[in-house]
């Protein structure tokens, strides 16, 4: 263990960590902004058939590895932070869209019917019944996405995106354990932080009475 090298690695953390966090937050925000409305539209009665189809495709694409997405970005968008974010958005889209559709499909039709029967408009049913009830599932999708994005974000280093991956890659290239441990450690902490934080949100958003299901 080389103490100086360890400090050197640590000194790079604030910069790389902030890039990583920015990368993750931007790509999550963009992915949510895109996939939430799409999920809502695809579950409206008019598009219901299409929704099922999209769901199948999304399920298929779940098998698509993050590294392949990163690799495919380079020839298309080139190198740098922006292409990296582009790749991460694609990565984040899938679970969120999937869970939005699944969550909205999962709302008990009787509950919707009852709400409509009380004279709620379609809009009101969506915002006051469907979305709140689907929220835990949607948040679970966002959580999955966040963990993926933090993980795939470390690979962004290979297409010049920077972030914690830079520290790991430097360590791998030089075979410096100190760099690897610092980069990997913060990467892991960041992912766990997002996972726990979003789990907590999910728990908070679960309507009372839904908390203990089976």
């Amino acid at each position: 263990m080389n103490w100086e090298r360890f400090l050197d690695a640590l000194s790079r953390v604030p910069h790389e960590l902030s890039i990583h966090v920015i990368m993750v937050l931007i790509s999550l925000a963009v992915a949510i902004a895109i996939s939430l409305p799409i999920g809502v539209i695809l579950t409206r009665p008019r598009f219901r058939k299409m929704g099922a189809l999209v769901m199948n495709i999304l399920n298929l694409f779940q098998a698509f590895p993050g590294m392949a997405i990163i690799a495919l970005t380079m020839p298309v968008l080139g190198m740098g932070l922006k292409p990296a974010i582009g790749a991460l958005v694609v990565q984040a889209l899938l679970p969120i869209a999937r869970n939005t559709i699944a969550g909205l499909y999962g709302v008990d039709p009787n509950t919707k019917e009852a709400a409509q029967g009380m004279g709620m408009s379609e809009r009101k049913v969506l915002f006051e019944v469907e979305l709140p009830l689907a929220m835990p599932v949607i948040l679970a999708g966002i959580r999955t996405s966040a963990v993926y994005v933090v993980s795939v974000g470390t690979l962004a280093a290979y297409i010049g995106g920077g972030g914690l991956g830079d520290i790991i890659v430097a360590g791998l290239n030089m075979l410096w354990a100190e760099f690897i441990i610092v980069g990997a450690g913060f990467g892991a902490l960041l992912a766990i932080f997002f996972e726990r934080g979003l789990s907590y949100l999910e728990y908070k958003f679960t309507p009372p009475g839904f908390t203990i299901t089976k």
């Binding site: 779940q62 590895p65 495919l72 380079m74 933090v150 890659v169 360590g171 441990i181 990997a184 892991a188």
Partner: protein
Amino acid sequence: MSNLLKYMVENASIILDYASTHFSLIFSAVAISLVLWIPLGILISRNERLASIVLGIANTIFCIPSLALFSVFVTIPFFGLGRPSSLLALVLYAMMPMVINVYQGIKVVDKSVIEAAKGMGMNSRRILREIQLPLAAPVMFAGIRITVVMATGIAAIAAYIGERNLGRLITEGLTRYHVEMILSGAILIPLIAILFDTVLGAVERMLVPKGLKVSRSK
């Protein structure tokens, strides 16, 4: 596009070579995972305290970015660059989908079925063998399927720690700015993953006991 095909044909032998390393890594990882995680899943289905601990650990490991986990093992002297580190990382990642699916598969078996079986004098080994495992089989297999698909993607990352598998097409392609090389990796790997997913999905459906597929309307 034609450049890509040309590249793939010209380098067919090396790609096949990479593919076989890729498969052997996945295969060993899944084999070890089966031996470790299925018994663990069964064990924790009988002890709630242990279950929450084990599932917490599996969940945390699953969060760790793949590149980070691979790299950390490299720093451990015995593991170093190459197979042992890659294998260990994949097996650890498999813990989450496999253990949780075995656990849940057993747990979702209707409580009243177990109560009735126990009430008729079936011992707990028999209940496990004749009721819980057959009914949990599809869910357990789903865990294996997720593991295989996931391992296909993550194994590629092991190319950064010295595995000579399909991931190398991407890592080397990126360093050499060789677009065809990158593309061949970035297309083959997902293709294989999706293929595994589809085939294993079909097997999974076959495992559903017949009694659960029928209904009165027949």
